[in-house]
Amino acid sequence: MSAVNPALRKEVISIYKELLNLGKDYPQGYDYFRPRLHRAFMSNAHLKDDDEIRKAIARADFVRKEIEALYYLKRYRTLRKRYDGL
C-alpha cells in the first residue's frame, strides 16, 4: 500500500460505509446486500491510478443514487396503490 492517494482512500471508505448503511433497508435483506457490495469493492481493489479510482468512486456514487431512487419508488408505488386505489 504505497502509491495510493490517502485522500482517495478516505473517499472510498466513506462511500463504502454510506452504501453499507443504505443496504440495511435493501428489499432482499442486508445479508444479500453486504457480500455483493464487498465483492464489488474488492474487484476494484487492485486499482492504483488516481483517475481510475475516481471513476470507480463516481460509479459507487451513481449506485448510491440508484438505490435511493429504488427505495423512493418502491415506497411511492406501495402507498399509491394503497391510498389512490390505482
Binding site: 454510506e18 415506497r75 402507498l79
Partner: protein, 258 residues
C-alpha cells in the same frame, strides 16, 4: 414578513413494507416489528427543509422543529428527521401501548405551537397506521388558522405572508391561497424525501432533543373511542375455471349475473 418558524409533527409507525398481523386477543396489531417514520411525515420534513434550501420563503426559515408524541423509541424517528435537516426536536413521552387520539394530539400541538411561536405547521395528511386524517384539520380548527390539506405543491409569494398551495382533490387539483400563519398537510406527490446520509446522521445526534411529558401541556391520554375488536380482512376467494361456453353460461346463471 417575519421569518418562518416551522413545526413538523412526526409519528413513529409500523414500517410500510411490513404486513401488520392482528394479535391473538384481537385488540390490535403486533407491534414487535420494524418501525419507521410515517411516510407522509417524511414528506413534510422534506418540504420544510426544501423551503429553507430553496429560500422560497421571503422571510427565510428561522427554525424547523420536529415533535413526536410516543414511546421512548419515537426518539429514533426524531433523530431521523433531524438527520434529514430539522434543527431540533421535542419528544413528548407516552407509555408503551398508550396511543393518543387525533383530538388529543391536536390539543397537544396547539399548546406547542403557542409555546414555540410557530407560524407554519406542516403535517402528514394521515398516518399509515390509524389512517384517521384528522389531526391537521383539528389543529387548524383549534388554532383558528387557515388550512391547506393534501398539498401537492407549496409556493410562497415574493413578498408578504401569502402562500399558494395546490391540493389534490377528487378528479384533479385545487389551488388555494392563504396568509400565514397556517396549517399544511402533505400528500404523496409533494416531493421526494431524501435519504439521510451518514455524516448527517452523526450530526443529528448532537442536535438538541427536548423531553416533555403530556402533563406539561395539560393533556391526558384519555380515549373517547374503545377498540372493540380488530380482525384481518377475509382472504380473497380464488376464481374458478370453466370448461366451455355452456359451463360459463350456467355458472353466470347460478351467480345471478344473467
Amino acid at each position: 414578513m417575519s421569518a418562518l418558524r416551522i413545526l413538523v409533527p412526526v409519528k413513529r409507525v409500523i414500517d410500510y413494507a411490513v404486513k401488520p398481523r392482528v394479535n391473538k386477543a384481537q385488540t390490535g396489531v403486533e407491534t414487535n416489528v420494524k418501525h419507521s417514520m410515517n411516510p407522509f411525515d417524511e414528506l413534510s420534513v422534506e418540504e420544510s427543509v426544501r423551503i429553507r434550501e430553496k429560500k422560497s420563503a421571503p422571510g427565510g426559515v428561522e427554525d424547523i422543529c420536529v415533535i413526536s408524541a410516543g414511546p421512548p423509541k419515537a426518539q429514533d424517528t426524531l433523530r431521523t428527521a433531524m438527520a434529514m435537516g430539522a434543527d431540533r426536536a421535542i419528544h413528548v413521552e407516552t407509555k408503551e401501548g398508550e396511543d393518543l387520539e387525533p383530538l388529543s394530539v391536536a390539543k397537544l400541538l396547539k399548546s406547542v405551537v403557542e409555546q414555540q411561536k410557530s407560524n407554519l405547521v406542516i403535517l402528514g395528511k394521515q398516518s399509515i397506521d390509524d389512517d384517521a386524517n384528522q389531526t391537521g384539520q383539528m389543529l387548524a380548527g383549534l388554532l383558528g388558522w387557515p388550512q391547506a390539506t393534501q398539498a401537492s405543491k407549496v409556493m410562497f409569494e415574493k413578498e408578504g405572508d401569502a402562500v399558494t398551495v395546490t391540493r389534490e382533490v377528487d378528479g384533479g387539483s385545487e389551488t388555494v391561497r392563504a396568509k400565514l400563519p397556517m396549517v399544511i398537510t402533505t400528500d404523496l406527490r409533494l416531493n421526494e424525501p431524501r435519504y439521510a446520509s451518514l455524516p448527517n446522521i452523526m450530526k443529528a445526534k448532537k442536535k438538541p432533543l427536548e423531553k416533555k411529558k403530556l402533563e406539561d401541556f395539560g393533556i391526558t391520554a384519555e380515549r373517547r373511542l374503545k377498540i372493540v375488536k380488530v380482525t384481518e380482512p377475509p382472504p380473497r376467494q380464488g376464481g374458478g375455471k370453466v370448461d366451455d361456453v355452456d359451463g360459463l353460461v350456467s355458472k353466470l346463471k347460478e351467480l345471478g349475473a344473467l
